[in-house]
């Protein structure tokens, strides 16, 4: 399952790019658990969310300005 991991300023954002939401959620949980077992402890972990665009119906390019960390 393809994913992007964006690491900046003590923050790790994960974007799963294929599969279903449930599969993505499970993959993210697996990644976080793996990081935890390797000694990387986080102070806060957000809930896994569906990726939504505010205005998906408009014909408009959605481009991330800085490495895609803003989702």
């Amino acid at each position: 399952m393809k994913a992007r991991i964006v690491i900046v300023n003590g923050q790790v954002s994960v974007f799963v790019e294929d599969g279903t939401f449930e599969e993505g959620k499970s993959a993210i949980a697996g990644l976080m658990a793996s990081l935890g077992t390797q000694g990387i402890q986080f102070d806060a972990v957000s809930a896994v969310e569906r990726h939504r665009h505010d205005d998906e119906n408009k014909v408009q390019a959605h481009v991330h300005a800085q490495g895609g960390q803003n989702g």
């Binding site: 399952m1 393809k2 994913a3 992007r4 991991i5 964006v6 690491i7 900046v8 300023n9 003590g10 923050q11 790790v12 954002s13 994960v14 974007f15 799963v16 790019e17 294929d18 599969g19 279903t20 939401f21 599969e23 993505g24 959620k25 993959a27 993210i28 697996g30 990644l31 976080m32 793996s34 990081l35 390797q38 000694g39 990387i40 402890q41 986080f42 102070d43 806060a44 972990v45 957000s46 809930a47 896994v48 969310e49 569906r50 990726h51 390019a61 959605h62 481009v63 991330h64 800085q66 490495g67 895609g68 960390q69 989702g71």
Partner: protein
Amino acid sequence: MPCNAVATATATVAQEHLAKLLTDEVVSQVVVEYLQKTYSNEAARLQDLYASHSRRAAQGVSIVMKNFLVNIRQGRVSVTGSRRYGTDQAEVDALASELQNLLMSAAGILFQNQVMQAVAAQYTVTEQQYAPNGALVLTVNL
């Protein structure tokens, strides 16, 4: 970069925990190198750091440069300017802020490396690049 994410989450490490990655060795190297590069006319010299009351050797890093004394403990920077040379408070504050930002940036890079190694130990990383804001972007197969 087009975004096709079906699921997303973000995990955060607090700045004070990030600062724990900054060992005295790393701090000495990063700060001395920076000071020598930025203030090339002034020699930055490491010295032993002592606890203020007991006068025993203390953990941390102490650097003397020009008319400044820089002490760094657990990622926190304290700068003192010598009155004898007429150092003003704005200069002291500016240097402290500059070094604090430098160290947080160094801690961020150490954290990136730590996460990258942990990810690579378990998953296949197919691409690695840096975004203009310094973010490390890994493409992986989860």
